[in-house]
Amino acid sequence: MSTGGDVPAVVVDGVGMVFNEGTGGEVAALDGIDLTIRAGEFVTLIGPSGCGKSTLLRLIGDLLTPTAGGVSVFGRSAHESRTGQDYGMVFQHAGLFDWRKVQANIELPLELRGWSRSDRGARSSEMLDLVKLDEFSDHYPRQLSGGMQQRVSIARALSFEPRLLLMDEPFGALDEMTREHMQSELLRIWGETGTTVVFVTHSISEAAFLSNRVIVLSPRPGRVHSIIDVALGERTPDTREDPDFFAAATTIREALRSVGGAE
């Protein structure tokens, strides 16, 4: 990684978020969040609905501004990081543009950065290779399945080698088999790129399978309830049947139960 030494990827410092502040219809979404994410780490945010996990992701991504506290990303403010284009984002809705072919979708962030056509072409081919969609570069998004669209979305988010990848329930709309396949793919890509990932989910098994650490949030207002280390080593398809995997899932489930959000 280009950031040498021990600069953490994300530092969330005493962050609070109140929506509609001063209008009478105030909603306290987050309160007193402290969190440090190391460079290269894969961290999952999990919690019952209303715990503010998506809000926290948007605060880290500077799509929202906290009403208390601050967020820094690789030593800079979240705002500087966003305008410096450090972020890759993937949503549940793949968010591909219908009017751009797969390759052109992947190249969009590169275009916005003023890359030359040949550089863009070279990079998008690499990314298509990475997500194993080489032969679909000339298709329109609507011609692809949901899982394939989400792979394009990931390729697009990674195309400019962002230092931080923010993912908001990216596999939430996929069926179980596609979802497990995509999780393995994501870990492979993460292993190859070494990027830092913050991943929002409400799936216990997804959190256990993917993460180095799972942040469990409690609702109304969202607070950090517990942080669970998941030490499963390298994930393989067998990991899903490993007793340690079940143990990690159980720990997460019990934490969720205690905050009133077991699924």
Binding site: L63, P109, L112
Partner: protein, 271 residues
């Protein structure tokens, strides 16, 4: 692939052609069989004969009326699109103007034709053009404004995460998103522009236009000529509608690729 599509298109037009020809045959047969008098309903063959006999007058009238329709159409579209883009940038303006535009659009704008004559002159073409522009403007403005604003919030957030500015978002997201909405408006206003031009001509403007040819010939009980003029007007309207469909196809190749058909009128995108 291309050939197969062409053949499919040809065969899909087949039934329409058959029904059309049968319709004219039925019309001709009915008029002859029941001895319906020509001033009530002329036979298609008599209309065709007048179309040939009066061709120089009708051709000129069709051309001039077509010019009014097309120029009004272009100005109305340009004004509608520009104002839609402008109001999209200012939310309050958009929220104030759109309901107003919807309300105005629900009123019979062609009823303004005699008033436009007073404003813009009864002998020139300006008042006729003004009617066309007014009729075209509102559907284009309303639909385009919807297309520019009804963008999936994730797509806007994504662009923000790339630190894209408002103009980039307009160019890369809002405008392409609005294209299907705009195309729907175009399908409506292209033939509507001809209707508006003719109705405006009923009330004033130069005397050598389709509207006047219809009223003056009907006034002299020359209904077959009036019908011939209506046929010319229909041809102009159909030509403009076809042009609208062509614009739609050329501007949105992705819709064709995913198997969208001409009858697919839904601009909304799956989410």
């Amino acid at each position: 692939m291309k050939l197969r599509r062409l053949v499919q298109r040809g065969t899909s037009l087949g039934p329409a052609v058959v029904v059309g020809v049968a319709g004219f045959g039925l019309w001709e047969g009915t008029v002859r069989a029941f001895g319906i008098r020509e001033f009530l309903l002329p036979k298609p063959t008599s209309i065709l004969a007048e179309l040939q006999a009066e061709w120089p007058v009708l051709r000129h009238a069709g051309w001039e009326t077509g010019r009014i329709a097309v120029s009004g159409l272009l100005v109305g579209i340009l004004a509608g699109v520009l104002l839609a883009m402008f109001t999209t940038r200012f939310r309050t303006l958009n929220e104030g103007l759109t309901p107003l535009a919807v309300a105005v659009n629900a009123t019979p704008i062609v009823a303004l034709a005699p008033i436009f004559n007073a404003w813009f002159g009864i002998t020139g073409t300006l008042s006729n053009q003004a009617v066309v522009i007014a009729v075209v403007f509102f559907p284009v403005f309303i639909n385009t404004a919807r297309g520019l604003t009804e963008v999936h919030p994730d797509e806007i957030e994504l662009m923000h995460s790339y630190a894209a500015g408002e103009w980039t978002i307009m160019r890369e997201v809002r405008v392409p998103n609005a294209l299907p909405f705009f195309a729907n408006a175009l399908r409506v206003v292209a033939p509507l522009s001809v209707i508006a031009a003719i109705v405006a001509e009923y009330f004033g403007g130069p005397q050598d236009r389709i509207g006047n040819v219809i009223t003056s010939n009907a006034g002299f009980a020359r209904y077959d000529v009036a019908w011939a003029a209506i046929a010319v007007a229909s041809a102009v309207g159909l030509a403009l509608f076809a042009a609208a469909l062509l614009v739609e196809r050329v501007s949105m190749p992705w819709r064709l690729a995913v198997g969208g058909s001409d009858s697919n009128n839904n601009p909304g995108r799956e989410t």
